[in-house]
């Protein structure tokens, strides 16, 4: 617990230095795939700020370019036009739908590799990896191989590995989509808790409306082909929420109606 408090303090110190700047600034970003002539616009003029410590869910149907946007923020791809800045510096951490853990390393060594690539001295890696495993409630799993872990445990190790990058920004690309409902529900609780403990800013991509409302402080709805910001909602329901809460359901219905409207537009042309 003491270490978690330290991380929070450190984080708020960082944001004080950044002087009110957002954790992520997406400024008039366009992304076009393909050659000129047969080019297809995937993202059209996206402008979005994520405040330090904020939890934002990007929501949209298929073809809205939400994963593309996340790749751009992660620096895995470049925008065709516009800029993306991550003022806190460093590389944002990214979590995928697949756990993407390296099967030739144990759970603990996967985390240590992230620490090593970040430049953490050898002597500090093991205790830090143990601390992160304990943060995702996997004490004692340091020596486990990836194939010995369940799907939910793998995603928790992946979360610990992402946190090992000690980035101010955590990008999540439908990380719980492949899990069963019970496990997903538990991981929603864990993510909310860890987000509150670490003060990290989260940009979370999903097509699941209830998941978005369950987790986020702000839900941003994207249109499809090309992706534009259609509307956004501030979610004022206090945490800890449950996915079954009446307030969550009520807002989900409202957002789903809007999302369905967006999808219907595509059938009319």
């Amino acid at each position: 617990m003491a270490t978690a408090v330290r991380t929070t303090e450190q984080h708020s110190a960082d944001t004080a230095v950044a002087d009110g700047a957002p954790a992520v600034r997406i400024d008039h970003v366009h992304k076009v795939f393909g050659r000129p002539g047969s080019a297809q616009a995937v993202l059209d003029d996206i402008t979005l700020d994520v405040r330090p410590g904020e939890f934002v869910c990007l929501l949209g149907a298929s073809g809205c370019g939400k994963s593309t946007l996340l790749n751009l923020v992660a620096g895995l791809d470049r925008p065709t036009a516009g800029t993306i800045t991550v003022p806190g510096g460093g590389r944002p951490a990214l979590m995928f739908q697949e756990h993407a853990l390296f099967p030739w390393l144990t759970a603990g060594k996967n985390i240590e590799l992230a620490l090593r690539l970040r430049g953490v001295p050898r002597a500090e890696r093991r205790p830090e990896a143990e601390r992160l495993l304990s943060l995702v409630r996997l004490d004692g799993s340091y020596g486990k191989r990836v194939h010995e872990l369940s799907g939910g445990m793998r995603q928790r190790v992946a979360l610990a590995r992402a946190l090992a990058q000690d980035s101010n920004v955590l990008l999540m690309d439908e990380p719980f989509a492949a899990l069963d409902a019970i496990t997903r529900d538990v991981l929603h609780g864990e993510l909310t808790r860890i987000w509150a403990e670490t003060g990290v800013s989260v940009l979370f991509v999903t097509h699941n409306v209830r998941e978005a409302v369950r987790l986020a402080e702000r839900v941003v709805l994207l249109t499809s082909r090309p992706g534009r910001v259609a509307r956004e909602w501030a979610v004022d329901i206090p945490q800890p929420r449950r996915i079954e809460d009446a307030a969550v359901a009520e807002l989900s219905i409202e957002i789903t109606e809007e999302l369905r409207g967006e999808i219907r537009r595509h059938g009319q042309h």
Binding site: A100, F102, L113, A114, L117, R145, H147, S150, M153, G189
Partner: protein, 302 residues
């Protein structure tokens, strides 16, 4: 009633967190993958018994064929005659010398092939221009029997150890390089993306992500490379004859042919086979099994 309403919010929160922890521990216990160990007796029955029975069966059929007089003793020697050739070689103290001459050459040549094939494979896999240039030749070379190089090697290098090593290298380097190339090609792109988000690119990406991910394919290439080394060496020893070279297994076999010593020829063939299998069983198979097992790619009983 009033007391429940005055429960502080943070206390309620921590009770919720404990609920979650308990639920999570239960899920982990239910979902955890059980890793079973195969008992020793089962290993004995499943892994040792079948090959031993097969060898015994071959010996029995062989002996029966000899007893039935299918062929004269000069063409089909009895197992006992091959056994006594073996004992003669052993008593003369030559057996281990002959085996070691070939094994030493084979292993040294193989190690040199690894040292050359690995960087070649890495460059071909990662540099598109080089790949288009020599990739097809490299895979084509695999189908060229390396014994075809022996005449050229003998003229270039004379009947020397160098000629032997040249033939081994020409046989083994392509398969080692090709193994590494296909290992790298089969690395899931997701690992490379994950590596890049963690900050592994260029040399550190190759070291921490690409090479470990390609290891299973590379090991398969090494295994095949050994088989090619051994085969090439035996062919070279059979063809190239010089007192300077010493007597290896291939030369022993050829000497026996020149003396029309049929039990000796059978012994030579059996020794070449046994050494090839032994190196595979002692070095490559355990290595490969270990790598695949730690990645969860084979079950323990396999």
């Amino acid at each position: 009633m009033a007391s429940t309403e005055t429960v502080p919010a943070d206390k309620k929160g921590s009770a919720g967190a404990q609920d979650l922890a308990g639920l999570e521990a239960g899920l982990d216990a239910l979902d955890a993958v059980q890793v079973r160990r195969t008992p020793f007796t089962q290993v004995l029955v499943k892994k040792v018994l079948p090959p031993v029975s097969a060898v015994l069966l071959v010996l029995v059929v062989w002996q029966l064929a000899v007893l039935a007089g299918f062929a004269p003793e000069t063409k089909l020697p009895a197992p006992r005659a091959v056994g006594s050739s073996f004992m003669t070689l052993w008593n003369e103290g030559q057996l281990l010398d002959i085996i070691w001459t070939s094994v030493e050459r084979g292993l040294l040549g193989f190690l040199a092939a690894v040292a050359i094939g690995t960087p070649v494979g890495l460059v071909v896999a990662r540099v598109p221009f080089v790949r288009s240039a020599i990739g097809p030749i490299l895979s084509g070379l695999q189908s060229l029997p390396s014994v075809a190089w022996v005449p050229a090697a003998v003229i270039w290098l004379g009947i020397t150890d160098s000629a032997m090593y040249a033939v081994i290298l020409l046989g083994a380097v392509p398969s080692i390089a090709n193994g590494l190339i296909s290992g790298i090609d089969q690395v899931p792109p997701l690992y490379l993306r994950a590596g890049r988000t963690l900050g592994a690119s260029g040399v550190s990406g190759a070291r921490h992500i690409l090479l470990p991910a390609a290891l299973p394919g590379y090991l398969a290439g090494l295994k095949q490379g050994w088989a090619f080394s051994w085969r090439s060496l035996m062919a070279a020893e059979l063809i190239a004859s010089s007192p300077d070279l010493g007597t290896g297994l291939g030369r022993y076999l050829e000497n026996m042919r020149e003396g029309s010593d049929m039990p000796g020829i059978f012994l030579g063939i059996i020794l070449i086979l046994v050494v090839g299998i032994a190196i595979d069983l002692l070095i490559f198979s355990p290595l490969e099994r270990r790598v695949l097992r730690t990645r969860g790619l084979v079950s323990r009983s396999q």
